[in-house]
């Protein structure tokens, strides 16, 4: 007891949160696209980032991943109809 400094305490909390949130059965797999991947996606769909579905930078998962506004997150969801479905969301301020 008392061995953790305040900073470490809060880090520990973040780590626990991270663990809980990312492993929760209702939270699908999130990953940030690399720059090339993002470029390729936008080219394939012939769109600008603004036309993608959005996710707040303050979203718990986005926070854990350290996503910054402008990043694109790939979400791999389990789907009752398709088995697995892939979704993309662009991180926005908020």
């Amino acid at each position: 007891m008392g061995a953790l400094s305040n900073r470490n305490k809060s880090l520990a909390v973040v780590n626990i949160k991270k663990d809980i949130i990312l492993n929760h059965e209702l939270v699908p797999k999130h990953e940030i696209l690399s720059e090339e991947e993002a470029k390729k996606l936008l080219e394939e769909l012939n769109i600008t980032k603004k036309q993608l579905p959005r996710i707040y930078a303050s979203d718990p998962v986005a926070k854990i991943l350290g996503a910054k506004p402008g990043d694109i997150i790939r979400i791999t969801r389990k789907s009752p109809t398709a088995g697995e479905s892939i979704y993309y969301r662009v991180v926005v301020k908020g």
Partner: protein
């Protein structure tokens, strides 16, 4: 790409803006002079626009129709409040200092209008230390500071001191606060308030014109009195009157203001009344419009037409037309139609020449027009058999609420609809009316036929199964036709087959129903399934099923089992589903057309009727039922006893009382189920029973209600407890917990209910009516919101779902990319 609107700004009209908009100043209350010419400078001054054809606009030179009209303005002798902004005026008055015009409170304390209206200003201005007296608002449009009434001039003077920034902080969206007090009044163009000439030659002016004349008259009097220096009380009276007129000009339904009336006593329809409500401009003229080439009539059934067809009355067919371009290929027929004219069917009503002029075909000129007809002309001919039309029934909450049908012109005055096409429209024939629209271009017709034709909508996108199919008598007929033991003589067989459109030499003396039915099935069809009335035996004997409930079709031959709702009805029909899936829409349509006709023919040969005796039980079985009820009562008494002694242990998360109710209800329902079993066992196959078991109409539950026992009346999800203190009716002892005292009906509908049972039955009925009316309202609104939110989403060519601006909503439609209307219960067809 369409241009994108960046922003729309709404703000108050400034006096300068009014002057800029206006082309003239309106000065005189006179409208017409002695020669009935509009007075110059009056509200009908020709510079304000043209309403009569042939005259050119004095301002822009445009003709009637080109010239949109022009605004004028009235200079008010004294300013008046804009009554549409009283709330805003009150906020600005209370929360700014009348001396220095600065905010009396912190910005953060007044963030919404609700907060601003409630906020209490300090007694002293924090900026200039002036004493602030309370502002009071008195209906309809008077303000006081302390005890002194504020006139609009004073309010305006106060508002001029407020800075733009402070005004914005108090919720003023655009413009200056002093513009809330009107000094100039915009006069709308004549085109916005046209006068109408009655048959008597008298002119009748628009309500707005009347109101404007009132305003100008009072304004003029006020100006004159100011000129001669009349006493203050006269000025005040006139000022007040001017305020009244301007107020009612904006809105004639202000609370606390007597509405301005017409000479006849009818309240005037002023600006707000034009826009508001269902009858206002928005909901009546902009959101809802009327269309040409449409018809509406009562629908009635006709099982002899195809499900793809709609019967159209001759009168309608002769009124609604389709434009056909005359070519070398069709000129002969077109000439014939024109020669028939507009009152011989099939004829034509109009021709359109290549230069665009239209000419009505009349008996006098039809020969002449037929002669004139040449390639490039357009003939508007009557509707004919086979034309594609759209058919619709409200509420349109489906895409299947509008489907394309092929016209079948018929005598009499109703639209005829095939019964199998009723479920998607949710139509019946108790007086339902439906709408018909006629597409006018070849493209529209082709699109309607390809995408909206009834046969192409057999499979609903809601669940990927048929939503069109045989119901009611068709099902009874199908069962009677196909059940084991049904035989038809050669003569009868010929009739049944002819009804289905099969004409052939019959070799055998006798045919079974299964043989006849098999003739409708595609030759290589194979399917096996359990019928809806399958008894769910412990071990299924498959094709040896003694209940006729195991259906096997082998190479287009119905080998065993009887056809019921599970095979051909909407929502369930497995056989129908299979045929639609494997052989295509048109084969499925033809199958349905033929099956329905064959089934009713078979039903008519046998005859089908129900009577009381169908559901009458023998004495001993009735006694058995009563015994079950008695035993149940005993058990319930036991539960109540236990409860009284406090021996009931509550279920997790429930109270003792709730647990007691659960136990009692379970016991009472158990009795009903037992009775249902008894009835099921003892009923012979009467026609009523056939309907229930095949799913044609009614259910075993309904039969139980009639023959056995009605059971517990559920009111608000439980037994009845409302009414008197401790009891439901005065006929019971207080705190009686027995079944009868809380809505248990031990009679059947055949026996009849006693008055107390009847009372509970009515309670349930009433609750049901309330429920369904509330449910339709709530779900209707929910649906509307959903539709409005989703209406411009579409699947793009790259298989992404996007909205109108190109924003992506889904990357693959529905995650799996399967069109449910082309799926088999949500799965890919063929099980791939």
């Amino acid at each position: 790409m369409a241009r994108v609107i960046k922003a729309i700004k709404f703000e108050l009209l400034s006096p300068q803006a009014i002057k800029k908009l206006a082309v003239m100043k309106v000065t005189t209350p006179e409208v017409y002079d002695a020669d009935a010419y509009p007075v110059k400078g009056g509200v009908m001054d020709p510079r304000l626009g043209v309403v009569d054809p042939g005259i050119r606009c004095r301002t822009c030179g445009g003709k009637f129709g080109d010239c949109p009209g022009h605004f004028g303005y009235i200079e008010l002798a004294k300013p008046v409040l804009n009554v549409l902004y009283l709330k805003q005026i009150k906020i600005l008055l209370t929360l700014t200092c009348p001396e220095c015009g600065k905010l009396l409170l912190e910005k953060s304390k007044v963030r919404s209008d609700a907060e601003r209206l409630k906020a209490e200003p300090p007694k002293q201005c924090p900026h200039c230390n002036a004493k602030i007296e309370k502002v009071k608002f008195e209906k309809p449009y008077t303000f006081f500071r302390g005890n002194k009434q504020l006139n609009p001039e004073e309010i305006r003077a106060h508002f001029e001191k407020i800075s733009d920034e402070d005004a914005k902080a108090l919720g003023l969206k655009g413009g200056r606060p002093e513009w809330l007090v009107l000094t100039l009044l915009l006069v709308p163009p004549i085109t916005a308030r046209p006068s109408i000439t009655l048959e008597t030659g008298e002119r009748s002016e628009d309500d707005l014109t009347h109101k404007l004349v009132d305003i100008i008259r009072i304004n003029q009097r006020l100006a004159e009195n100011l000129e001669i220096g009349a006493p203050q009380f006269i000025i005040d009276d006139l000022w007040e009157l001017l305020q009244y007129h301007v107020a009612t000009y904006f809105n004639n339904e202000l609370s606390g203001v007597p509405p301005a009336r017409h000479r006849s006593g009818r309240p005037l329809k002023t600006l707000a009344q034009r826009l508001k409500t269902k009858e206002g401009r928005f909901r009546h003229n902009l959101t809802g419009k009327r269309v040409n080439f449409s018809a509406r009539a009562v629908v009635s059934p006709d099982p002899l037409i195809s499900i793809n067809e709609v019967g159209v009355p001759l009168e309608v067919a002769m009124e609604i037309t389709i434009p056909i371009k005359v070519t070398s290929h069709n000129i002969k027929e077109m000439r014939k139609l024109v020669k028939n004219g507009s009152d011989v069917y099939p004829g034509a009503n109009y021709i359109i020449r290549p230069d665009g002029t239209r000419k009505r075909i009349l008996p006098e000129n039809k020969e002449e027009i037929a002669e004139e007809l040449a390639e490039g002309y357009i003939v508007e001919r009557h509707l004919q058999d086979g034309d594609v039309v759209l058919f619709n029934r409200q509420p349109s909450l489906h895409r299947m609420s509008v489907m394309a049908h092929k016209v079948r012109v018929m005598p009499y005055r109703t639209f005829r609809l095939h019964l199998a096409a009723c479920p998607p429209y949710n139509a019946d024939f108790d007086g339902d009316e439906m709408n018909l629209h006629v597409p006018q271009t070849a493209e529209a017709r082709a699109e309607a036929e390809e995408l909206m034709l009834v046969e192409k909508n057999i499979r609903s996108p809601r669940f990927g199964g048929p939503i069109i199919g045989a119901t009611q008598d068709f099902i009874s007929g199908a069962y009677i036709l196909t059940k084991t033991g049904t035989k038809f003589s050669r003569e009868e067989a010929a009739q049944v087959l002819a009804a289905a459109g099969i004409y052939m030499d019959l070799e055998k003396e006798e045919y079974t129903g299964k043989e006849l039915f098999s003739m409708l099935l595609p030759d290589d069809l194979n399917i096996e399934f359990k019928a809806g009335f399958c008894q769910k035996c412990d071990k299924c004997k498959k094709d040896k099923c003694e209940h006729d409930a195991y259906v096997v079709v082998k190479n287009g031959e119905l080998v065993c089992g009887a056809i019921d709702s599970k095979a051909i009805s909407p929502f369930k029909g497995l056989l129908l589903d299979k045929i639609d899936m494997e052989y295509g829409h048109s084969v499925a349509r033809e199958f349905l057309d033929r099956v329905t006709r064959m089934c009713i023919r078979a039903l008519m040969i046998r005859g089908f009727t129900i009577s009381i005796s169908d559901i009458d039980l023998p004495q001993d079985i009735k006694k058995e039922i009563k015994k079950v009820v008695k035993e149940t009562y005993k058990k319930v008494d036991g539960i109540i006893e236990k409860y009284r002694k406090g021996e009931i242990t509550p279920y997790p998360g429930r109270t003792v009382e709730e647990t007691r109710e659960d136990l009692i209800m379970a016991e009472l329902w158990e009795a009903v189920n037992k009775v249902q079993d008894i009835i099921k066992k003892n009923f012979t196959e009467t026609d009523a029973m056939i309907m229930a078991k095949t799913g044609a109409r009614g259910s075993l539950q309904n039969l139980t209600y009639m023959a056995g026992i009605v059971g517990q009346e559920m009111i608000r999800g439980g037994r009845a407890f409302r009414g008197f203190k401790g009891r439901t009716l005065a006929h019971f002892k207080k705190y009686d917990l027995g079944p009868k005292a809380h809505g248990y009906v031990e009679s059947s509908f055949i026996e009849g209910l006693d008055p107390i049972e009847f009372f509970f039955e009515v309670m349930k009925g009433r609750e049901g009516i309330m429920d369904s009316s509330l449910k339709t309202r709530v779900s209707g609104y929910l649906e509307r919101r959903l539709v409005n939110a989703l209406h411009d989403l579409r699947v793009d060519y790259d298989w992404t779902v996007r909205d109108a601006a190109g924003n992506i909503v889904q990357f693959v439609p529905g995650e799996d990319g399967i069109d449910p209307a082309k799926s088999s219960w949500g799965k890919l067809m063929g099980g791939a």
